[in-house]
Symmetry: C2
């Protein structure tokens, strides 16, 4: 299902067409596509080139990773993730390796890598849906994640499926329009809350 951003401003197709569906197909994802997706993340920017991102990638039916990620998800997310072929746990390293000090941009930079994943995935015809709704302690325990690393989000990756097969309460947002704040309320100049002239 296509739900392009409702904008007349010309932005990259991968950015325009990316959205976060719940109706994923159970069609397997080609390993070479997965490789490209994570290679994109690898070249993301980070503070002092720390590259705080780590990924636990689960392919449904292969090993235990997918199941472990699935069982850390909230009930709500489990409802629609059942058929998702790829589930990923995204983790960031909380300190700088060069000096062991707290990295104030660990989550920020993990977010950048996640964004690269979402865009490269779209270039491959694949959709992504990020989730905060999971149990961090369960995820940490099940994968023995060291204390200096923080399980931050989970992500579903796969082809688009069938919106009508979703539980009814999820169909509304699935079929609804995408919405965003007006650009005048997020891009300022001179003063806080004062729209920058170039976004007019």
């Amino acid at each position: 299902m296509n739900k392009p951003a409702s904008t007349t401003v010309k932005i990259l197709d991968e950015i325009k067409n990316r959205w976060s569906p719940r109706a994923f197909s159970d069609k397997p994802v080609e390993p070479e596509k997965l490789k490209r997706i994570f290679e994109a993340a690898r070249w993301s920017a980070s503070s002092f080139n720390e590259q705080p991102w780590r990924f636990l990638a689960g392919i449904k039916g292969q090993g235990e990773t997918w199941d472990k990620i699935f069982y850390s998800l909230s009930e709500w997310n489990q409802k629609w993730c059942k058929t998702v072929p790829i589930l990923v746990l995204l983790v960031c390293k909380k300190s700088f390796t060069r000096n062991d000090k707290i990295n104030a941009w660990a989550e920020y930079d993990l977010g950048q890598a996640a964004a690269y994943i979402s865009i490269q995935a779209m270039a491959e015809g694949l959709y992504t849906h990020q989730m905060g709704g999971f149990n961090r302690d369960t995820a940490r325990e099940t994968f023995n994640i060291p204390e200096d690393f923080e399980p931050t989000t989970m992500m579903a990756i796969g082809y688009y499926g069938n919106a009508d097969a979703l539980p009814e309460d999820m169909q509304k947002s699935e079929k609804g329009e995408r919405s965003r704040k007006e650009i005048s309320t997020i891009v300022f100049a001179d003063k806080w809350n004062e729209m920058a002239a170039f976004v007019k």
Copy 2:
């Protein structure tokens, strides 16, 4: 100066070619390009569609925004930012608007929006360089940023300039190769630190 990612894996050109230079040209940036860059950020993903991102965008020589951002920068960053035509302060809202609870993904989602900016900029032939080296208190005070918002990074945006015009101590990294961790050390399956088979 082109410094494409040194990879044989086929990733999006905008992701492959993006890097963080310091040698920016003083050539002005077309307002319509700026508009597209921030429109891209607008369509980024966020937890509960909170869109916690806010941007203060300074155009050199227009109003006071650029100067205010510049004076919040560390001395080191000021050295190479002098000629940068666009300086941006990236801010995130720390709580969810729907329930006033802490948003654990505020910085993560701001990072996603920053990544979209970096990719859309590259599509426009523009480079970006994100910085953590600035004084958050100065930035907050100078723009009267409310307490619930956190000044998180700054970003330089512009065309490429001349590497030889940089201070000597900055030329090495400017001209050096880009480097990243091996993919086997960031994408795991089954266990922490165990490489996922598909990245081989």
